[in-house]
């Protein structure tokens, strides 16, 4: 039994190195225990893996790109079972079926797609719901956002933010990592200080005004809103503090609209 510890998050590079090594030594998925930073402390048993016999079988397996892309997304999931699942899929792609991920009814494939999909959705929501606030740093505009993604979605969105806000200076802070952009270089920082995020912005009041007025009180569809914007995201968005009052007052507003005609 080989034991592998992944010490970084989301851990894609470490996992890829370790998986490459394991594949080349022909170590089957059921003979590996994957550990992450979370499980590491709880583990009481020593690492037996070092003594395992190393036999080189073959190096440089070619993995189809769509498989790697899918795995890359899945590895940003917070569920630690992702490491063993991804290795199992890799193993089966190499030794069982190159087109494994096309078998949409296979248990492992379904699970891999489900994980990747959860991450994609979370990353999409981050690109949508993240809000910058403006501060002045050394006399220059700098935009700072604090955002708490459900998965390790920051890395997936970096190119989106670098493209869209290329000529803006910005910092995105998440509980596990921050990204700082100065219009040319990207700097990553682990475990940033949440108090560095500003709690005000000079334009935000206009955004709240817009949000409160663009909605039509005559057609309340709270469930449709919650499907697309579940409450777990609300903490990231200043406008959600208005929702309670908007729903409460909607009836009165509609009645006012209709009675206005006399």
């Amino acid at each position: 039994m080989k034991s592998i510890a992944i010490t970084s998050v989301p851990g894609f590079d470490e996992w890829r190195e370790a998986s490459r090594e394991c594949l080349s030594q022909h170590i089957a998925p059921e003979d590996i225990i994957w550990k992450s930073v979370h499980t590491l402390q709880e583990d009481l048993f020593g690492d037996m893996g070092e003594n395992a016999e190393k036999k080189k079988v073959q190096r440089n397996h070619t993995i189809p790109k769509p498989v790697l892309t899918l795995i890359k997304y899945a590895l940003c999931h917070t569920d630690d079972s992702k490491f063993s699942l991804c290795y199992r899929v890799l193993w089966r792609v190499v030794y069982e079926n190159k087109k494994l991920i096309q078998l949409k009814t296979d248990g492992d494939v379904i699970q891999l797609y489900a994980m990747a999909k959860a991450v994609k959705r979370d990353a999409y929501k981050m690109s949508a719901f993240l809000r910058f606030r403006e501060v002045k740093l050394a006399g220059q505009e700098h935009f700072v956002a604090w955002y708490e993604p459900e998965h390790f979605s920051l890395e997936i969105n970096l190119s989106f933010f670098q493209t869209r806000f290329k000529n803006m200076r910005w910092s995105i802070l998440t509980p596990y990592r921050a990204a700082h952009w100065d219009t040319e270089t990207l700097v990553l920082e682990d475990n940033p200080d949440s108090s560095a995020a500003p709690d005000e912005d000079r334009i935000e009041k206009y955004w709240l005004t817009y949000y409160a007025n663009i909605f039509n009180p005559a057609r309340i569809k709270t469930n449709a809103m919650l499907n697309q914007m579940p409450k777990k995201y609300w903490k990231n968005m200043p406008e959600t503090s208005l929702i309670g009052d908007m729903i409460k007052q909607s009836d009165a507003r509609v009645r006012k609209m209709i009675s206005n005609e006399d």
């Binding site: 096309q102 078998l103 949409k104 009814t105 379904i110 949508a128 719901f129 993240l130 809000r131 910058f132 606030r133 403006e134 935009f143 989106f160 493209t163 869209r164 806000f165 290329k166 000529n167 803006m168 912005d201 334009i203 935000e204 009041k205 206009y206 955004w207 709240l208 005004t209 817009y210 949000y211 409160a212 007025n213 663009i214 909605f215 039509n216 005559a218 057609r219 309340i220 569809k221 709270t222 469930n223 449709a224 809103m225 697309q228 914007m229 406008e239 503090s241 208005l242 929702i243 009052d245 908007m246 729903i247 007052q249 507003r253 509609v254 006012k256 609209m257 209709i258 206005n260 005609e261």
Partner: protein, 423 residues
């Protein structure tokens, strides 16, 4: 116009007041999409400018309690208007509060919102001040300045002003991703009654001018190998108000089919008439049911993406309210079911109630590798109850008598108290 406690400290801000009036006035427009204009991003060496288009259907940056997506800064440049369209809250005879954004205010608001990741871009429409050309000229100035002075690469949708000159319409297309003119009513006689200054053939003429421009800019006519300048790459869209006039679904969908085929529109939006403040006497007192609007969208989708013809969808003048139009068609054509998911071609699969276009694609891809059995369907998260009587797979065949039974359709009836569509 509402002011919440949190906002009250800023109540004296004039810009806040304008924003209240001019976003409130824009909310009756159903269109919010920011998609289908392709991808766009800054060049590697661009040192100024802001924004990108991600392709696909654009990002929904927030959702309001009416379930709609907030993707664009959707505002009126002004709600002053010289026209008197009865369904419109801003008609000249209405006594709503009036306001007007300056060109600079509109540009600043768009850029400031965009920099904070609130929006994908700007959706600008306007009441008509002075003349159609004067109004349109200001709108074009806003789009032009955003693009040329500020290097804005986000989304711009301009609602062009009916009766504005074709030169201004053509200029608008150089800076906007999408242009739209609302037809508002499906027939000229309804327009005569509800929007006396609007003329259907004028609207069609404007649409045709834009259609030709869009087509022209898609092909390189100089044969120089250079790409022609972009012209409204997201195409044109329009909106019809449902239930204010007496038009039936057949008339409405017939108008849509013509707009899609003749004017090459990308999207027709349907907006169920809802009560507006200070309403005109000509209008009905009750709002149109949202379910009707929903059914029209479903039918519109079937016409555009599922290969259905108008006469197949409509049995008589109105769509069936009890069942969605696809199920309704299936119930009338039971003889072609059950359909074998392992052998049927794409066109036929698209007609199975409960199978969407994406699922059909998935089935086709799975079929290439393996034969589908019932257990596979259960893994695909499909609406099995709906699907069950209409399909067969390797190890499953529906009860032969099921489709022929007298009360067969009753099992699909949606419960009346469905909150989403209560009018």
């Amino acid at each position: 116009m509402i002011a919440y406690r949190k906002l009250s400290s800023a109540m004296h801000d004039r810009l806040i007041q304008k924003l209240e009036i001019l976003s409130d006035a824009a909310k009756y427009d159903a269109s919010c999409a920011s998609g289908s204009a392709g991808k766009r991003q800054p060049g590697k060496t661009d040192k100024s400018g802001i924004g990108s288009l991600t392709g696909g259907s654009g990002i929904c940056h927030s959702f309001t309690p009416d379930g709609r997506c907030v993707s664009l800064l959707k505002i009126l440049m002004t709600n002053y208007c010289i026209y008197d369209c009865h369904y419109c809250i801003n008609r000249v005879s209405s006594n709503v509060q009036r306001a007007r954004f300056t060109v600079k205010e509109t540009i600043d608001l768009t850029l400031n919102f965009y920099k904070r990741n609130y929006i994908e871009g700007l959706f600008l429409s306007s009441g008509i001040v002075g003349s159609p050309d004067i109004t349109m000229e200001s709108m074009v100035r806003i789009a032009k300045s955003l693009r040329l002075d500020h290097g804005f690469k986000g989304y711009i949708h301009l609602k062009t002003i009916p009766n504005a000159s074709s030169e201004l319409q053509a200029e608008a297309g150089l800076y906007a991703d999408r242009l739209s003119i609302n037809v508002e009513m499906p027939t000229q006689s309804s327009l005569n009654r509800y929007a006396p200054e609007k003329d259907l053939s004028n609207i069609h003429d404007s649409m045709n001018v834009l259609k030709d421009k869009i087509a022209e800019h898609k092909v390189d006519q100089t044969y120089s190998g250079k790409r022609p300048p972009r012209f409204a790459p997201g195409g044109q869209s329009t909106q019809m108000i449902i239930g204010a006039d007496g038009s039936n679904d057949k008339t409405i969908l017939g108008t849509s089919v013509k707009l899609y085929s003749q004017q090459k529109l990308r999207r027709v939006y349907y907006s169920a008439f809802s009560p507006i403040p200070d309403a005109s006497d000509v209008l009905p007192l009750k709002p149109a049911p949202l379910l009707r609007e929903h059914r029209l969208y479903q039918a519109d989708w079937l016409l555009r993406f599922y290969g259905f013809g108008l006469d197949e969808i409509l049995q008589d003048d109105m769509l069936d309210m009890d069942y969605d139009p696809k199920l309704s068609w299936a119930l009338r054509n039971r003889h072609i079911f059950p359909i074998d998911l392992n052998t049927a071609d794409k066109q036929l699969l698209l007609r199975v109630p409960g199978l969407g276009a994406r699922t059909v694609q998935k089935i086709l891809s799975i079929r290439r590798n393996t034969k589908l059995n019932w257990v596979d369907l259960t893994k695909m998260r499909l609406p099995l109850k709906k699907l069950k009587p209409f399909v067969k797979v390797g190890d499953y065949f529906p009860d032969i008598h099921l489709l022929d039974s007298n009360n067969f359709e009753l099992q699909f009836k949606e419960p009346k108290q469905f909150e989403l569509f209560s009018a």
